[in-house]
């Protein structure tokens, strides 16, 4: 009975011994030129399609708006009208007659302040709601109602409270972006696996250590989802709020251009608003990716 079994073993062992060195061989490195070519191909695959689409859309826009009596200017007109604004974003003639850089930086400062406040308060409240059942029962219904109020509806109330445009705009940013941060943080905290809590209990981490060493890293992917939605909302809200409060800022720049019938300037400003919003979103996403590296997989 034993003999045939041993024989089979020997037979199967032979092909394996032949196959082994083939598997362990290290593949040759592709030559450098080939690597560059592949990189260029990959870049082209990403960059060319959107460029083609943009070119096509610009062409259509040009054709549609070119004829006399058109309400909106064609791209060529926009460029001609706003050439000075594009080429010199840093001029400052006093008052609100400034380059676009100054308008954008004023808006970004408001967003930075309001958003930072809402990030800190939002994460703190989210942790509270996520950690305590009673806080959740008490606060969650309130949050669910308050978060549906449109940003601009807060503006008159905050103007009445602060009696000044600047803090009112910052408050509108704050109140707009805080809800997704609270809600996502709370979900993240509630989803911390029991295992991690057990580990913390066995090691006897104190509440502060538990917060910094377990809670924040474990909930970080959720928190960053909230932060990313929040930054998008605050950029949406600032443009609208600035239209109403006036002063320096990209929002009022657009409103002012409309009042002076400089349609081309409005279009240029919209480009900038879009690009800045995109960059902000990517910034937070990149930060989140950097901070939460390793946490996504288990």
């Amino acid at each position: 009975m034993n003999m045939p079994a041993t024989k089979i073993e020997v037979e199967t062992a032979t092909p394996a011994a032949i196959a082994a060195p083939v598997v362990t061989m290290t593949p040759k490195r592709p030559p450098r030129a080939e690597a560059y070519a592949r990189m260029a191909r990959e870049t082209a695959v990403r960059v060319i399609p959107p460029l083609v689409v943009i070119a096509l859309l610009t062409l259509v826009w040009e054709l549609v708006c070119r004829r006399a009596g058109s309400a909106l200017p064609p791209p060529s007109r926009v460029f001609k009208d706003t050439k000075e604004l594009i080429l010199d974003p840093f001029f400052d003639h006093g008052g609100i007659d400034k380059g676009l850089f100054w308008h954008l930086s004023a808006s970004l400062q408001r967003v930075a302040l309001g958003y930072s406040l809402s990030a800190v308060a939002g994460i703190a409240l989210g942790v509270l709601v996520g950690q305590s059942v009673w806080a959740m029962r008490g606060l969650d219904p309130l949050f669910q109602v308050l978060r549906t109020i449109p940003p601009l509806a807060w503006l008159p109330l905050s103007l009445a409270a602060f009696r000044d445009g600047q803090p009112s705009a910052i408050f509108v940013i704050f109140i707009t972006s805080i809800w997704p941060i609270i809600i996502n943080t709370a979900v993240g905290i509630r989803n911390i696996p029991q295992d991690y809590r057990n580990v913390a209990a066995v090691v006897q981490l104190n509440p502060l250590e538990f917060f910094s060493k377990i809670m924040i890293p474990a909930a970080a992917p959720y928190i960053f989802t909230g932060l990313r939605i929040g930054i998008g909302l605050s950029w949406l809200a600032i443009v609208a709020a600035e239209m109403l409060i006036g002063g320096v800022g990209i929002g009022f720049f657009i409103w002012d251009a409309w009042n002076s019938s400089h349609i081309s300037e409005i279009i240029l400003a919209l480009f900038y608003v879009g690009i800045v919003g995109f960059v902000l979103d990517r910034l937070i996403a990149g930060l989140g990716k950097f901070v939460t590296r390793g946490t996504a997989q288990n």
Partner: protein, 264 residues
């Protein structure tokens, strides 16, 4: 027999609304220092609940746990747990995972350099020093469990609690890790309490095997001494008559007298 760890008349009743289920009933067990005790039973018999009670992660309804004659009812590093699914923190490296416990336990008694050396010493014990800067996602399941063991050992626990530590591993890795744990027990003389549902594992590793009846109201059905000399060798034991007799005894208990009945 000197009681090092003593489970004294432990009952556990889970209450949900008006319904209550008695999971454990009158568990009494005394464990000596340096002993390796396994608790075996069918799934759902409450062995993990018992381990959680000893660890202090769950409270007993009545009765209590005494460690060196002192009652313990909250979790602490003197009863370090190796969890079934390793429970390493994925955002920390292997080194940092072990250091988390070390920094807390030896905050006052060891200097920074000593703590660092102690972490590395424990990683060396489980042969994981080479992966100190890797994250848990970058190492295999067996390696993760080794790090989990190192983390628990590094806290210098009075009792090491193993909650089905090899359950999630493939058979070959499991055998390898069992040998490692046996070697560590031989070398360090820890008191170890292990939950398992693997008969061979229980017989191979333990000095005594505690067999639990099926829940609800699970009790200790029988305690079996395993009178095999250490160090034990897996291959030599395969034909050893004492080993086979012990194995037979546990199998009879589990599959004849207390057959697992699927809950209706």
């Amino acid at each position: 027999m000197t009681a090092y760890l003593k489970l004294d008349h432990i009952d556990k009743i889970f209450t949900r609304g008006t319904a209550s289920t008695e999971v454990l009933k009158d568990i009494n067990l005394t464990i000596e220092k340096g002993e390796y005790v396994s608790i075996i039973g069918h799934s759902g018999c409450g062995k993990s609940t018992l381990l959680n009670i000893i660890a202090g992660l769950t409270g007993a309804t009545t009765g209590g746990v005494l460690l060196e004659n002192r009652e313990v009812n909250s979790p602490g590093p003197d009863r370090a747990v190796v969890f079934q699914n390793h429970s390493l923190l994925p955002w920390l490296t292997v080194y940092e995972n072990v250091k988390l416990g070390v920094d807390k336990v030896f905050a006052r008694t060891k200097s920074r350099a000593e703590r660092d050396a102690w972490v590395m010493h424990n990683l060396n014990l489980v042969q994981m020093a080479h992966a100190r800067d890797k994250r848990p996602s970058e190492i295999s399941g067996g390696m993760k469990q080794r790090v989990g063991i190192a983390r628990a050992l590094a806290m210098e626990p009075k009792v090491l609690l193993l909650d089905e530590p090899f359950g999630a591993l493939d058979a070959l890795t499991r055998a390898h890790l069992q040998d490692s744990v046996m070697a560590l027990h031989q070398k360090l003389g820890n008191t170890i309490l292990m939950i398992t549902h693997d008969v061979d594992e229980a017989v191979l590793l333990s000095d005594r095997i505690v067999m639990m009846t099926n829940g609800p109201s699970a009790r200790i059905g029988e305690v079996l001494e395993v009178p095999l000399a250490r160090p034990r060798k897996r291959l030599e034991l395969a034909a050893n008559s004492t080993y086979l007799k012990c194995r037979q005894r546990v199998l009879e208990f589990l599959y004849e007298r207390h057959r697992f009945v699927e809950a209706a």
